[in-house]
Every structure is written in structure tokens, then in C-alpha cells.
């Protein structure tokens, strides 16, 4: 099995840097646009995220997930951190005009990732209002309080929907927590 682009970066393959930008630039840019307050914020965040990726490439373990999810995790950490450091304004997308989310099509894992396909299948099993809570929180970056306000839903219900939804996705991803613990 050939090494992933992250493993090649970690091993000192400078050509992999450009490949990484080409392969994952759209993913990072898409996440940054959704979880930033302006396009200029999104550009700054994207640069910070890729710097995090260069620094973290050596920690990527292909046995614990795909490189796409690894990069999405790095991106989300950075974006959430940036949101918390700025004002209480929500990110760019107003809920009234949320763009339709283009979900990964189950069965196209070669184009997306196995984890994305699993997440899509898990979301499809959720009730519409529960799926909406996850979409607003994880795709569009609204806080749980903002979701509660927007959907006129009790905060406790939002928390419960988010928690159970994430756990359902986790179950679909069949993460072996014992293994993570033992290796952690």
C-alpha cells in the first residue's frame, strides 16, 4: 500500500506538499468558508490550518482513519478556536439563507471517504429535526444556543439531539475505543 500524502510529507517528500494542497485545498476552504466570519477570515484560517497540517502530518495514523477525516479534524479544531477568540457573531451563513448542504452520496467513497459515507448513512437514520441540529452545528458552525434560538427549540433538546446524533455517527464509524485507549 502506497503511503498517503500526509505520510509522505512527514517523511520529507517536498512534492507532497503541493499534492496535499491540491487534494485537500477544496475541503479545507469549504470548511473555513462555513466556519469563518468573512472571506478574509476564511483565507487567514485556511493558511493557519495548512500550517497545522504540516506540523501534524507525522501524527497521522492510517490505521485510525482516512487522511481526509484527519485533515477535517485539524481544520475544525482551528476554526472552532478562531471562532471562540472572536466576537459572539455567528459565522458567515445566516440561517435564513443556508445554502443547501451537498451531502456525500453513499456509495461514492472513492470520491469522498468511507467515514463521510458512514456519516451520511447515520444522518439519514435521524429524525429531520435532529439531522437539522447536526447540520447547523457541524456544517454551519452555529453554537447550540444559537441553534436553540433559531429553531425555537429548548437548549436541552438541542444538546440531546447533538449528543445522540454524534454518538450515532460514531457507532456507524465503528470506532474501536478500546483500541484507541490501548494505543493512546
Amino acid at each position: 500500500m502506497s503511503p498517503s500524502v500526509l505520510q509522505r510529507i512527514a517523511s520529507g517528500d517536498s512534492a507532497a506538499v503541493r499534492e496535499c494542497i491540491e487534494q485537500y485545498g477544496a475541503l479545507v476552504w469549504s470548511l473555513a468558508r462555513r466556519l469563518s466570519r468573512s472571506p478574509s477570515d476564511a483565507e487567514d484560517a485556511t493558511q493557519e490550518i495548512f500550517l497545522d497540517i504540516w506540523r501534524s502530518a507525522a501524527r497521522f495514523d492510517a490505521t485510525q482513519g482516512s487522511d481526509k477525516v484527519f485533515i477535517a479534524m485539524i481544520a475544525r479544531r482551528r476554526l472552532i478556536d478562531r471562532l471562540r477568540k472572536t466576537s459572539a457573531e455567528p459565522p458567515m451563513d445566516p440561517v435564513e439563507a443556508l445554502e443547501a448542504v451537498a451531502w456525500a452520496d453513499p456509495g461514492t467513497s472513492s470520491e469522498t471517504s468511507l467515514e463521510a459515507e458512514q456519516a451520511t448513512r447515520a444522518l439519514a437514520e435521524l429524525r429531520p429535526e435532529q439531522r437539522q441540529v447536526l447540520e447547523l452545528g457541524l456544517i454551519h458552525g452555529l453554537t447550540q444556543s444559537e441553534i436553540a434560538t433559531r429553531l425555537s427549540m429548548p437548549l436541552g433538546t438541542v444538546k440531546s439531539f447533538m449528543r445522540r446524533g454524534l454518538i450515532r455517527v460514531r457507532e456507524f464509524m465503528n470506532i474501536d475505543a478500546e483500541r484507541i485507549l490501548s494505543e493512546g
Binding site: 485545498g25 476552504w29 475544525r76 467515514e115 444522518l123
Partner: protein, 290 residues
């Protein structure tokens, strides 16, 4: 009911903290509360939830727009600098400074309630009351034909804004509109057009003869009317200036929000930094899709 953890149980409150950390981050007080947990159990749960959240985010990114070329070049340059400093791959490769191509700086999105709807006909734009927010940083226009700053020495010279505009004009799926001048004094003798690529969400304004402005007194502000959005909220295009010696300028557009279906563009004259609510007396140019 508590959710089962990988080793033992975490109660709902602790699980809620982990979920909050994954979805929006924790306050210092919440972080301290989480720190009292068994770190191994909390850490394993946190990693699981992070992966699940990342997978959902990834699933929602199908058909993601491409990374803008100029940003990709900046990132590559940044990587070269990073690895040169770390003595890792790319070390020794020459690099240039971190110059950024000029763009319109968008205003933040925080609309107030508007009283009028989005009007499809261009003439009706003059009657609209827009709900806008302030844009703190004006962007310098790029004079037509002026080379954009090179951002990475080893790479090919990046196209100028004028060249990128020309390329976009040649694309069959880009939106091209002529901007018509109004009777506003700033619009006397001006001609202009806009090209917008709905796929990359980029575009360019092009003006000949738009009156120079003193940024300390007034600025131009761009608005994009999106047929896919609430008609009361045009997408803010940010503020920009026309230098005293400029006759023909090309200004890159970076919309503050995704534009689903651009229907019209309007430029107004506003006080420095832009306005929250615009009066209709200073619409300079406008153009609407047929």
C-alpha cells in the same frame, strides 16, 4: 441516561461538555470542569466525537468549491518557509514575501431588518432600502494591466486581475453584466461591467471613468443581489476606493457570503467604512441579469 464510554460511564453533563468542546469549544470554566475527569476516558471519548463530527463535516462538503489559486500559492509559499525554517522538505527553495493580491474587503454579516424586498428590475434597486453592515478595511483597486504581486518566486508569475478577468469573461458559464450609470455626480461619464463566476464564487468589477474618491470622506460599496436568498438581504461586497490617478480599474470581488444566484450588482457611495443602512440617493452604477 448516560452514554457508555470506552471504559466506564460518563454522565450526561460530562458528555455534554465533550460534545460542546467538539462543536463550539469550551469556556475556561467548562474546561476546568472537564479536566477533573479521568483523562484517558475523556480523551478517548473526545477523539471519537471529534472523528464523528469531522466525518459529518466532511459528508457535507461534497462539491466543495476549489481553493482560490492565489490562496493556494500563498499556502505553498508558507509551507516552503515553514519547512525551510524547520530544516525539512523544501529547505533552501527560494521564496518571496507574503504579498496578498488586493481584494475587496467584505463587511461582516449582521443584517438588521429591512423594510423592502429585493427588486428584480434594476430600476427598482434605487428604491430598495438595504440592510448592511460596516466594512472596516477598504481594499485598493488593481489598475488594469498592473501586475499582481508575485507571491511565490519559484512558481510562474501569477495572472493580473485584468488577465483573470479576461479569462473569466471567456468562460461560457460566467455571468456578465453591464453596469449602467445613474445620475449621481460620481457616475458622470462612467462605464463599467461585472463578471461573476458562480462556481468559484469570484468575480471582477471593471470601471472606466469612475470618479476618484477621498477615502477619508466617502467610499464605494458593492452589493450583490442573490435570487437564492432572502430578498431583504443583499450580499455585501465590501467597500473600495478609486485612486486619484486611475482611469480604468479592475477590482476583484470576494463576496461575504456564498452567492447562490446572482441577479444584480449595485455600487453605492457611502461614508468611510460603509454603512449599516443605505440611503438610496447615492447609487452610482447598477446592473441586473435579464
Amino acid at each position: 441516561m448516560a452514554e457508555p464510554g470506552p471504559q466506564g460511564q460518563l454522565d450526561d453533563a460530562m458528555m455534554d461538555l465533550l460534545v460542546k468542546q467538539v462543536t463550539e469549544g469550551l469556556s475556561p470554566a467548562e474546561q476546568r470542569a472537564l479536566d477533573v475527569l479521568d483523562s484517558a476516558v475523556a480523551s478517548a471519548n473526545l477523539r471519537q466525537l471529534e472523528r464523528a463530527a469531522a466525518a459529518v463535516a466532511l459528508a457535507g462538503c461534497a462539491n466543495a468549491p476549489p481553493l482560490p489559486a492565489d490562496l493556494a500559492r500563498r499556502i505553498e509559499h508558507q509551507a516552503l518557509e515553514h519547512y525551510a525554517g524547520a530544516g525539512l522538505p523544501g529547505a533552501g527553495l527560494p521564496g518571496a514575501g507574503h504579498a496578498r493580491p488586493a481584494t475587496i474587503k467584505p463587511a461582516r454579516w449582521a443584517p438588521k431588518s429591512g423594510n423592502y424586498g429585493w427588486l428584480a428590475a434594476a430600476a427598482c434597486l434605487l428604491l430598495a432600502v438595504f440592510a448592511w453592515n460596516r466594512s472596516p478595511h477598504p481594499a485598493a483597486p488593481v489598475a488594469a494591466g498592473t501586475p499582481a504581486p508575485a507571491v511565490i518566486a519559484p512558481l510562474a508569475k501569477p495572472p493580473t486581475a485584468a488577465e483573470e478577468r479576461e479569462a473569466m469573461l471567456a468562460k461560457s458559464d460566467s455571468l456578465k453584466l453591464t453596469l449602467g450609470a445613474t445620475k449621481d455626480p460620481a457616475a458622470a461619464g462612467v462605464s463599467g461591467d461585472v463578471v461573476w463566476d458562480p462556481v468559484t464564487q469570484r468575480g471582477f468589477l471593471h470601471f472606466v471613468g469612475l470618479a476618484p474618491n477621498d477615502p477619508a470622506l466617502r467610499q464605494y460599496q458593492l452589493w450583490i443581489f442573490d435570487g437564492g436568498r432572502d430578498q431583504r438581504y443583499p450580499v455585501d461586497g465590501g467597500v473600495f476606493d478609486i485612486p486619484a490617478n486611475a482611469t480604468e480599474v479592475v477590482i476583484p470581488i470576494h463576496a461575504a457570503l456564498p452567492v447562490l444566484s446572482a441577479k444584480a450588482f449595485a455600487v453605492t457611495v457611502e461614508k468611510p467604512g460603509g454603512v449599516v443602512v443605505s440611503g438610496r440617493e447615492h447609487v452610482v452604477v447598477l446592473g441586473a441579469a435579464s
